[in-house]
């Protein structure tokens, strides 16, 4: 199917789970900022969890479907209508041929994921469909969607019946506790190479998300952070989750589009299991930290994987009916 893009939205990109293995070329892993929501969206339409889908930022696109399609919206709670019918998230929806899916603003959360049965098909670059905006590669010519683009999709794993109106599944996935917009956001904090003074400045204060945040980094504002010792180091590897402290003392948590190396002091790292929720923070929202150790971070990761595995089984049971 060839989906026409009537409106690109604020920043809509083709993403998958990223392109690991090329950091030595200066190419970061990239991929979806919230891998939890993206995986669930793909599973809901019968795709492999690493299929290419759309990541929608704050305000969404308008898409015209010439043929019937099965879709799912996960992540941010986004205004969505097809043929004037409101579409809820976290469940499969079947659209009739000729539908226009109009995605508005995100009411809660910052990034919504639209999975389409069969997946979005773009040429794979270094093994991945993910759009690397800074590298200008992957996805649709390395850039965000815009009006007039066309998106090819693959063959769905199960055929989509012809209908006259959208068919919305009566059941849905509850993404709590991994994505819960009613709970305050607290990220697990692991120590970095460079200590702050006072040592607990990160976990002692609440931090505001700055409007300059993007897929590369979540910029935080709060009391200016001082280092306990001066730091002059050559550029060293960094990871999504690394907390950098530039000279202005305002921390940056690197997200999916993290550069491969950086020279700023590393004052901590957030637990990998908390990255999906961090990717959903909007400018002006608040983030707190609590200290954990690596074993606790591994346990959080394992528990999240187990929840995803249970969700996958539940979805498969539903779809098999």
């Amino acid at each position: 199917m060839r989906i026409e893009v009537g409106r690109g939205g604020l920043l809509t990109t083709v993403q998958d789970l990223g392109r690991p293995g090329h950091a030595w070329l200066g190419v970061g892993r990239g991929g979806v900022a919230d891998a939890y929501s993206a995986r669930v969206a793909n599973l809901l339409v019968g795709n492999r969890e690493d299929a290419a889908l759309l990541e929608i930022t704050l305000s969404g696109p308008a898409l015209h479907f010439p043929a019937a399609a099965r879709i799912a919206l996960c992540g941010a709670d986004i205004e969505a209508t097809a043929n004037d019918e409101a579409l809820p998230g976290w469940r499969p929806v079947e659209l009739p041929a000729g539908s226009t899916l109009s995605l508005g603003r995100c009411r809660r959360g910052a990034r919504a994921y639209l999975a389409i049965a069969g997946g979005v098909v773009v040429p794979r670059v270094l093994g991945s469909a993910a759009t690397d905006l800074r590298g200008g590669l992957g996805g649709l010519a390395g850039r965000a969607l815009r009006k007039g683009d066309a998106l090819e999709t693959g063959a769905p794993s199960r055929s989509v019946p012809a209908r006259h109106a959208p068919s919305i599944a009566a059941w849905s996935i509850n993404p709590s506790p991994d994505i819960d917009f009613h709970a305050s956001t607290v990220a697990g904090l692991l120590p970095g190479a460079d200590a702050c003074a006072p040592r607990d400045v990160l976990s002692r204060h609440a931090w505001q998300v700055d409007a300059g945040s993007d897929r590369q980094g979540l910029r935080l504002t709060g009391p200016a952070i001082a280092l306990s010792a001066p730091c002059r180091r050559p550029s060293e590897p960094v990871m999504p989750g690394t907390i950098q402290c530039p000279p202005d003392g305002q921390p940056i948590i690197l997200l999916a589009d993290a550069q491969t190396v950086g020279g700023y002091p590393r004052i901590g790292h957030v637990a990998q299991a908390d990255l999906p929720r961090l990717a959903q923070l909007r400018p002006g929202e608040t983030l707190c930290f609590h200290d954990i150790d690596a074993e606790e971070a591994v346990a959080l990761q394992r528990a999240q994987q187990a929840r995803l595995a249970r969700i996958e089984l539940a979805i498969q049971a539903r779809l098999a009916r």
Binding site: G26, V27, E236, Q259, A294
Partner: protein, 230 residues
Amino acid sequence: MEALGERAWLLRLGEGIDAGCNRRVHALARHIREQAPAWLEDLIPAYASLAVVLRIDAVEARTQARDWLVACVESPQPPDEAIAEPVEVPVLYGGDAGPDLPAMAEALGLSVEGIIQRHANGDYLVAMLGFAPGFPYLLGLDPALAMPRLDSPRTSVPAGSVGIGGHQTGVYPRAGAGGWRLLGRTPLQLFDARREQPALLQPGDRVRFAPVDAGRFAELARSPGGIDAD
């Protein structure tokens, strides 16, 4: 060894920036890649350090991975063989291609021609690719040419721009923001993901810059592998 969170280990093989240490980094990276442990997702070699990233579904193996990496570091790897022939990178120096040359000449007390000569006479080593796909960090800049980054980075640096940032020199593979002082521009496309070998310059390569005139620049830019080729 330092934990980069629960998913990666940072191995530090030295403190400073020197070619010998950098060769050990790349030799160790090659050794680990060849051993291909099941938990390995990615390797990030830098000047004097190497990050080893675990697969997200294998973070449980983090302490086992650390012990294995310690053993790797303790059994020295034969350094990668030095490449005898340097890669020649043509550069159009000065003019619109090198807008910072006059100010550099004034600040460094050198003539513009003197800066070009010193830069083009250098024998450089690609210490790592980072910051952006295919961006080479080069060792071997004449210390007389070291200049701090611009106070305020340019919002748009043309693809192929050759710059100096502190004691480093490098080439911007792609247009974008950047704070290095610009001396010139190469007509070669440094990174193209469609090529079998996407990066023109590889870590461990030796590099020399060869001054070219505007005519030769335009010719090379239109040739296959040039910045204007397609």
